[in-house]
């Protein structure tokens, strides 16, 4: 694995990171607005974006608090939805091998988008690192600015659907894993995970379907890779 990045590659990764940051920032506008209309103060709203910094959990938390659900239910749901980050961080630990304060920073920046960008640029380790850090930092900044603007000017953009922003998320994730979907085993993982998640959604509480789907996808992927792993050629993880 070569570990060099030229200036063009670096610039392209940074540009994509900033683009993702701005997109999520627009989404944060609606988080800020919804949170304030759910009854949280501007400061509480901002604290969530700074400290929790995992969008889906934040939306779930304010939705439950706003609907009069108890704090315990709200915390448990947020944790359940955020639990996929633990799996991302195992992946990122293997890519970044961070130590000391970098480990603490990497942990906070480990979310869907930063991990996805790293996976999308892992032809080189340097590329994956740059993709992770630049995406994580760009989104952290934009997410918090967006939250503040949304909270202060509640109602500014309370429905991201008008701009089609609710389709931007899945499009971004698909684009990030697209380079991986060149092999049939990976395509099988994609289909199995997607269908499993959707199929379980009506029957299980939020956060659980995605975990079951993730487990199913990994199981299928391992199963299809078994012959290769047995031959001991598992070195190339792609």
């Amino acid at each position: 694995m070569s570990d060099e990045l030229n200036e063009v590659q670096r610039r392209s990764i940074r540009r994509d990171a900033i683009g993702l940051g701005i997109g999520t920032g627009a989404y944060a506008l609606s988080f800020g607005a919804l949170s304030v209309s759910a009854g949280l103060s501007i400061w509480q709203t901002q604290a969530l974006s700074l400290l929790m910094f995992t969008g889906a959990s934040q939306f779930a938390l304010i939705a439950i608090l706003g609907a009069g659900g108890g704090a315990v239910v709200a915390i448990a749901t947020a944790a359940l939805i955020g639990s996929r980050n633990a799996f991302y961080s195992v992946t990122m630990a293997s890519v970044l091998r961070p130590r000391g304060w970098r480990r603490l920073a990497a942990a906070q920046l480990t979310i869907d988008e930063s991990t996805g960008m790293a996976v999308g640029h892992d032809e080189t380790n340097a590329g994956a690192r740059l993709a992770f850090w630049s995406t994580g930092v760009a989104i952290f900044i934009c997410w918090n600015i967006g939250t503040l603007i949304g909270a202060v000017g509640a109602g500014l953009l309370d429905d991201p659907a008008v701009l089609g922003l609710d389709a931007a998320g899945p499009a971004a994730f698909l684009a990030l894993i697209w380079p991986r979907l060149t092999s049939w085993p990976m395509r099988a993982v994609f289909v199995v995970s997607l269908v499993t998640a959707v199929a379980f959604t009506p029957f299980l509480p939020p956060g659980i379907p995605v975990l079951i789907a993730g487990a199913a996808g990994v199981a299928i992927g391992l199963l299809l890779a078994l012959p290769e792993l047995r031959r001991g050629t598992g070195g190339d993880a792609a």
């Binding site: 799996f87 499009a171 894993i177 959604t201 792993l229």
Partner: protein, 98 residues
Amino acid sequence: MIAASIVCYGIKLAGYSVPQRWLDQPVTQRITVLIPVALLSALVGLWTFTSGQTVEVDARVVGLATAVILLLVRAPFLVVILGAAFITAGVRALGWLP
């Protein structure tokens, strides 16, 4: 709220505490590649076909189809995202799909 934030941070930190020796196993390496692909695939499904706990087909499906077409013609990353959002918003504005 603070408690929920601490729990969510602890969850993220947990993965970084896995011993490096484990990370070097071929099976673990395979799994670390599979995990994000499987989870992001699941999210593509959830964010396109569900709303809350109901399965729903709306304009987002057209947006995702747009993304697939743009990816097939090797459009740049940002073009894929903006194209998907633009077409989804357009389909809604025209009232073809909710």
